[in-house]
Symmetry: C2
Subunit: 499 residues, 2 copies
């Protein structure tokens, strides 16, 4: 029986770790949404202390003993404690694989590099940050090797595993290769088709911020967010944070454009509802957490891209927007909004990309970071390699590095292995939606009323409630009958942009 004494002690310990991480999550939200600028230095120390305390809990000598003792007992027939113990072992391996002095060196190097990156980006001058990124990559290589040895994985897989367990670089490489071929063939076709259509009109606004905020709140609520357990605030970059019983989403408002704030809220609401739907019976246990960043992204994208950019939902949203902001009703008709908000466009900037070209941004980053981690690409050669890759994938040449290899914070903050999650999420979202659309009666009718509850209930039952009792492909198989199948995403794009 797994619920013997050592397992109970482990539960208690992981509950402590999760609670410390909750503190860090709320403080992270505060730093982005509330904190005055002068609080930054102290907040950095606070988060570092919490990270250290959580790490110390995971690496305490008793953990290894308790894990060994719990594993020595006959496995429980209940999949939850069995998965829990597996995930505890996994977390312990990750925490103990990297020496403490390397962790500290990384914290210092990442923090320094991230600061300099801000200057380098605003000066469009990669050389400013090159030595710092070189140091960051050197330490990431050491981290990846150490993690890989501990986990029995290749170094880059070990980094990916930190964001999404259960899918490796070789799987991703082949999925991405196929998508590259798909894109080479279909992006020109989508562009040709689009060129023949009437150009959409951007509603001219202005869009009073207070009205946007009220509408965003209403939209999030109607999608399913309960503000007894949530907040909506502002930050420079929209994100979802907080804790499962107290989720905090943010957006940003532009007086001249209401689409940014609303689409960001819709996206973050998808993330937030996933956290809200995690199994409460396993709260603060590894098995009660989200199943990884790829799955997390699938839950935001199924709401934002799969559901809320359908004609049905856009019809409701357009009417709501017109009721809120007035102006020419033509601008808010689904014929216009669908052409405006379902538009493919080659661009240099990942975060502004449409759903068809977004994976291209991810694919090139995946290849470049994998090459940096393996040592096949030096940091000095990054700008050239970046520009070659985006030229190759989209035929574009960045005028400077600020809109090239300096655009994303990730690498400069030490995050390698995260980028694939975005596209894995987009693909998983399409695959889940294909099945949900078949299984849910009245889905389109409800969406036409702005009501996503049928979809959210389906996601709760088929994704959220499972926590991480299953891995990436297991979860997809349970929900859709097959592991990740990238052709569902291609079919979605064909239906939306080519037919």
């Amino acid at each position: 029986m797994k619920n013997s004494y050592p397992y109970d002690r482990l539960l208690k310990r992981f509950e402590r770790v999760a609670t410390i991480n909750e503190c860090a999550s709320v403080l992270g939200w505060d730093a982005a949404a509330m904190m005055p600028v002068g609080g930054g230095a102290a907040r950095g120390d606070q988060l570092a202390i919490l990270a250290g305390l959580a790490h110390a809990q995971l690496t305490a000598p008793e953990v290894a003993d308790d894990l060994a003792a719990a594993e020595a007992l006959p496995a429980s027939p209940d999949p939850w404690p069995a998965a829990n113990l597996r995930l505890m072992r996994h977390a312990h391996m990750r925490a103990t694989a990297v020496p403490a002095d390397l962790i500290e060196a990384q914290a210092r190097a990442n923090s320094k590099c991230e600061k300099v990156w801000r200057e380098a980006k605003s000066a469009a001058n990669f050389s400013l940050v090159r030595p710092h990124l070189t140091e960051v990559v050197k330490l990431v290589q050491q981290q990846a090797v150490a993690l890989g040895e501990g986990l029995g994985m290749s170094p880059y897989d070990a980094l990916m595993d930190g964001y999404q367990q259960g899918i490796g670089a070789s799987d991703v490489a082949s999925i991405f290769g196929a998508y590259e071929n798909f894109l080479a063939e279909n992006l020109p076709l989508a562009e040709q088709r689009q060129a023949k259509q009437q150009a959409p009109v951007k509603p001219p606004g202005p869009f009073p911020i207070a009205t946007q905020e009220t509408l965003c709140r209403r939209v999030a609520q109607r999608i399913g967010l309960d503000f007894d357990h949530a907040r909506l605030d502002r930050s420079a970059h929209p994100f979802s944070g907080g804790t499962p019983t107290d989720v905090r989403i943010t957006t940003r408002y532009d007086l001249a454009d209401c689409s940014q704030s609303i689409m960001a809220v819709i996206h973050e609401t998808g993330h937030a509802l996933y956290e809200r739907g995690l199994p409460r019976a396993h709260a603060r246990q590894p098995v009660g957490e989200a199943a990884g960043m790829g799955i997390h992204e699938s839950q935001s994208l199924i709401v934002e891209m799969q559901a809320c950019r359908t004609d049905e939902y856009l019809d409701w949203l357009g009417r709501s927007l017109h009721a809120a902001f007035g102006g020419d009703p033509k601008h808010y008709e689904v014929e216009n909004l669908s052409r405006l908000w379902r538009r493919v466009e080659r661009g240099l900037i990942r975060v502004e990309a449409d759903e068809m070209t977004y994976p291209a941004h991810v694919i090139m980053r995946f290849r470049l970071e994998r090459a940096m981690v393996s040592g096949n690409l030096s940091v000095a050669d990054l700008p050239g390699a970046w520009n070659a890759a985006i030229k190759d994938l989209m035929g574009l040449t960045p005028p400077n590095d600020a809109v090239g290899c300096l655009q994303d914070i990730h690498w400069y903050d030490g995050a390698f292995g995260y980028f694939p999650s975005y596209t894995l999420g987009a693909m998983a979202a399409a695959q889940l939606m294909a099945v949900a659309a078949r299984q849910i009666q009245g889905l389109k009718t409800a969406m036409g009323l702005g009501d996503l509850s049928p979809l959210i209930n389906w996601l709760k039952a088929n994704v959220h409630a499972h926590g991480s009792v299953m891995g990436f492909n297991e979860l997809l198989t349970a929900a859709t009958g097959k592991p990740l199948d990238p052709t569902d995403f291609q079919a979605h794009l064909r239906a939306r942009y080519l037919s």
Copy 2:
């Protein structure tokens, strides 16, 4: 030398403790000002974990060894490390004096009692909470005995010491006895004098909340709060929290009355500026912290009561209010505002009391809680004893316990020994102001322009910058030439209400 190895280790450890406490402080602010109701249960766990982690840092076996080793070295000629080491020893004694199971029992009992108190207060039914308060008091008695043994103090003194070091119950008892006599003689005189004056007019409002908020922010800023290191938000009860480089003050707004929000902001700004003015060179060291809750209250009250209720400041404030809200200018003239906001009035409710009768509320609580801690007053007898005390001090009889012994959260949350700090603060504020007014050139002229910087700079130099390198009476002696002298407060009241 005190900065040898064990002392450095202690510095590092206390820095860790302070940083954990900073996390708790921001999360506490969030709970009161931001958190959706559904986050309450998880937040309770988060704060409990942080308290446990901080406590574990203080009680680790190495601390005793390092303290002993550091203390065995020749004392530093520099008073800061010497005081620091003394305060570390003190913190360690407090942390180790109380057994862990008693701390846990208190956390549970206090939390339960506080919840039931809310019901009991809204039902005006003391008997609901009586058994819970009985349990709380029983555990507080045990805590007080344990602390008293560790610190070599009487049990009640050991509780007081947790809020304000350096002043004990016997000092307070004689100070309070003298004040009781002062009040018996002078409150009727003040009332008679007031009765002969024209009654003040409450400006009728309404006072739009957004305008109040803008004005509150401007007032706080003009007093000296830098919003690069501060926030102003709303909460059910105004408070000051956060950390020295990121202070968070709150207030509440009433559409029908602007005085509440503004006076609360002025008060909390005084607290906030004290935190902002603490010595940065000793940040996160015991000696760099505030010198106790009595001194803290003196810093809010010197701003709110001593400075901002003078004719000079009210003249500026009245003009600012009229500029913001319009209406009859007569209402905002200093002649009216001074009678409105410097008014003595016998009342049942402590938090609504004026500065002359406020100490009476504190005095009776001090006597009642001291009697409960010593066992001379049983919880069952509290309502009767309360009603007798307020009858005796102010000639009033509460119609029910909601406006009697159920009005304050303190005891029901396990806080015994805190109440004296309010009046010690009021008295210290008067004493500091008497000297500041003599030493600062142009103080009144500046106050007439809403500018408190001369006073704040004086407080920074004479109070804030000293952290807790000196005790309560030492600090007052350094700033004013004498230890706490309650006659300064009496003189202030005579000048304001009797002459």
